[in-house]
């Protein structure tokens, strides 16, 4: 047994738990007790994290994974059955088959072509904010609608239907949600998407889902799983980066000024925000399918490994002075989009959205400021993707 459990309690909203930082200072990997008593591992070092995530003998299948924390559905092992097409939680070669059908749709060049439309959507949100006048909740007015509109248009999901999936995805990402409730929420959103796929099969349009249907390689249940994965991953992630990133900039005014005033800072500044904020704060997790040696430690077949990503991305052996937000530092190489075969499919889209949205917001409202104290901003400690629940701002 080990006394260690997954560190979750943050002392400061933008920093990883001090307990995890102290562990990283001692070693790159630690024995950790999982919620079911399993003795697995916790990774806090950068090189070890990369090695685990890139290794072919680590599986991402949920039924192999031991529950890392004793909260909600994560404590109930094996409740989540991988829906057909939900390739994030599959291994090669099953994973590869689905991913290859999609990668052509998310290339650097293709995402660049979306720039004008992303800019248009961003400006429309800013116009509405200006017309409404402050204070507004930046999450509802800006951070959530931009990526939601973009992914809906890309996939061909009617934005007017967002009530059908935004509430369900909130339930699915809430750590407190019990397994039964999560299964029910998943069922509702899958039923909606299955219906949508059927309508698209009858009346195709110029969008990604119609293209996949026309490709003829996928059944409707596989298309539904893919649509669900892309839809949730496409808006919850960038939405939280935009919300939390704006909070980080507002509480670091010199960095905010750099992002607003210096176009040369923007691309790298986005990488630095991705690194510094690391909104995937719980895992990723992998389970060894063979004995594997990582950084001098023998991980035995069947053992689950938790990567503490926020801590890994602050590792001073890779990012000097990593606890500081510095938009000018070389920040590429962060693991915020993951590493290995599951590295984020939509990362180039997320980059485009952030590169457009942050500077546009700060230039439209040069006097942007919090409408509450920083301590009053509710943080998403209770969600599997970190961020701010609300961000009251004015200008």
């Amino acid at each position: 047994m080990s006394e260690l459990t997954y560190p979750t309690v943050r002392e400061r909203p933008l920093d990883p738990p001090a307990a995890a930082t102290r562990l990283r200072e001692r070693a790159s990997m630690h024995r950790m007790t999982y919620a079911d008593g399993h003795l697995g591992w916790l990774v806090t070092g950068y090189a070890a994290a990369r090695a685990v995530l890139a290794h072919p003998d680590f599986s991402n299948r949920p039924e192999l994974m031991h529950p890392p924390i004793a909260i909600g559905r994560l404590a109930e092992r094996g409740q989540f059955k991988v829906p057909p097409g939900f390739f994030l939680r599959m291994d090669a070669p099953e994973h590869t088959r689905y991913r290859k059908l999609l990668t052509g749709q998310f290339t650097v060049r293709r995402m660049k072509l979306l720039e004008p439309r992303i800019a248009e959507i961003t400006e429309a949100c800013l116009d509405q904010m200006a017309a409404a006048g402050g204070p507004v909740d930046l999450v509802q007015a800006f951070a959530l609608p931009i990526p939601s509109l973009v992914i809906c248009e890309l996939l061909g999901v009617p934005y007017e239907d967002r009530a059908q999936f935004q509430e369900e995805s909130r339930l699915l990402l809430n750590l407190e949600t019990k397994a039964d409730d999560a299964v029910a929420a998943l069922g509702r959103v899958m039923a909606y998407l299955h219906g949508l796929i059927g309508r698209k099969r009858d009346t195709p349009a110029d969008d990604l889902l119609s293209g996949l249907i026309e490709g003829g390689e996928l059944q409707d249940d596989e298309l539904t799983g893919i649509a669900f994965l892309l839809l949730v991953a496409g808006h919850e992630t960038t939405a939280n980066m935009l919300g939390l990133g704006t909070y980080a900039l507002l509480t670091n005014p010199d960095q905010l000024a750099a992002m607003r005033d210096d176009p040369a800072v923007v691309d790298n500044g986005v990488e630095e925000l991705l690194r510094y904020l690391t909104i995937i704060h719980l895992g990723p997790f992998r389970t060894a399918t063979a004995d594997v040696e990582i950084d001098g430690n023998l991980v035995k077949e069947g053992e689950t490994v938790a990567v503490h990503l926020p801590t890994v991305n602050r590792d001073p052996s890779r990012f000097h002075g990593g606890d500081d937000l510095d938009l000018a530092r070389p920040a590429s190489g962060h693991l915020s989009f993951g590493h290995g075969i599951h590295q984020c499919l939509g990362q180039q889209l997320a980059r485009e959205e952030m590169r457009i949205a942050y500077p546009a917001l700060l230039r439209r409202f040069p006097g942007l400021r919090l409408a509450v104290t920083p301590e009053e901003v509710p943080m998403r400690s209770d969600m599997s993707i970190y961020g701010v629940h609300r961000l009251p701002v004015t200008w």
Binding site: G104, T107, S332, I341, Q347
Partner: protein, 63 residues
């Protein structure tokens, strides 16, 4: 420096095309790596090394 790219390993993350667009591109259909120059000019060698490190699936290598 000579670059090799393995499209069977590539997962189309696009890190190479993002880092050194003069050397790497992605195919239209599968999004996998396309090598625009097998032998990069000397002034791009550092950037190519960075792209090799950033590649999540080990699809590109140099010799």
């Amino acid at each position: 420096m000579e670059i090799k790219a393995d499209t069977t390993v590539c997962i189309g993350a696009g890190m190479c095309a993002l880092t050194v667009p003069a050397v790497f591109d992605q195919s239209e259909d599968e999004g996998t790596v396309l090598l625009l120059q097998q032998v990069p000019p000397a002034d791009l060698e550092d950037a190519v090394r960075r792209a090799v490190t950033l590649c999540p699936s080990g699809a590109i290598s140099i010799s």
